[in-house]
């Protein structure tokens, strides 16, 4: 019962945050609602028994990535979103496509695991076992992420650095 109550409360907070992200026009408000989503997701992970993931969620996602977002919003001095007409074609195709996709997916999920219940803290989440997986079975992906991070560093340096002579006024085409 406690499980269900906690799930419902934080699930609702989570969905509210997600919807708020869509409704808000100022990016900083959207960013803060995303933090709310991530925080309540961390609680959901805890309910499932994934303490490791919950901790990483708070530290990496809410802590590092969102700070980066807020930093860039402040750096670029982003104002409230302008209401401009987007591509009509994209909306015409995108919205029905998304509706059909979500209905199909929802149907598949309903069909899949009707009432299989999960107990509070169902996951075996001992850090030692996770370390065994991460540094043995998934050693190669783990090592390969170092290349990924290296690329990300190079990319950030290349793209964010100011080119020697920027020709802002002269546009091509």
């Amino acid at each position: 019962m406690l499980h269900l109550v906690l799930f419902t409360v934080f699930g609702l907070i989570c969905v509210a945050g997600a919807i708020n992200l869509l409704v808000q026009t100022h990016p900083i408000n959207s960013a803060l609602s995303l933090v709310v989503v991530m925080g309540s997701l961390a609680v959901e992970y805890l309910l499932l028994g994934a303490e490791f993931v919950a901790a990483v969620q708070v530290i990496v996602y809410a802590g590092a990535i969102m700070v980066l977002f807020v930093f860039v919003i402040m750096l670029l001095n982003a104002g409230a979103e302008e209401r401009s007409k987007g591509s009509i074609v994209a909306l015409m195709l995108g919205v029905p496509g998304m509706l059909v996709g979500s209905i199909l997916t929802a149907w598949v999920l309903v069909k899949h695991s009707g009432t299989q219940p999960v107990a509070l803290g169902a996951l075996p989440g001992h850090p030692k076992d996770i370390a065994q997986l991460l540094f043995h079975d998934f050693l190669l992906p783990f090592e390969v992420t170092s290349i990924l991070v290296l690329i990300a560093i190079m990319g950030a340096v290349v793209l964010a650095s100011r080119p020697e002579s920027i020709e802002k006024t002269k546009k091509e085409n």
Binding site: I65, L76, E81, A122, L123, F138, P141, A160
Partner: protein, 100 residues
């Protein structure tokens, strides 16, 4: 006891919210945040399925997804800064030198 289905639906809702945001938002940074929302939805389904199968590996996947999301965020925000420098706008509809 909570049915696993509830968790999956929650993750599906988050994913769908992300897709909607990607389609309707006009600010580049908010669009990027919508993508992060989609990834969060995926992470929740990974953990929920891991609980269903009693498999530890689901948690490890989430860890990898977070690493990738962090790398993506660093590069993406750098690209946004580069675009802002040349165009002075964050509205996707005004980034239109190349016609779509």
């Amino acid at each position: 006891m909570v049915p696993l289905f509830y968790y999956l639906v929650l993750s599906g809702i988050l994913f769908a919210c992300g897709v909607t945001g990607f389609l309707i938002k006009r600010n580049i940074i908010t669009i990027f945040m919508s993508i992060e929302l989609m990834l969060n939805g995926v992470n929740l389904s990974f953990v929920a399925f891991a609980a269903q199968w009693h498999a530890l590996s689901g948690q490890v996947f989430v860890f990898f997804v977070m690493v990738v999301a962090a790398a993506e965020a660093a590069v993406g925000l750098a690209i946004i800064i580069a675009v802002f420098r040349t165009r002075e706008t964050l509205n996707v509809d005004k980034v239109d030198l190349l016609k779509l």
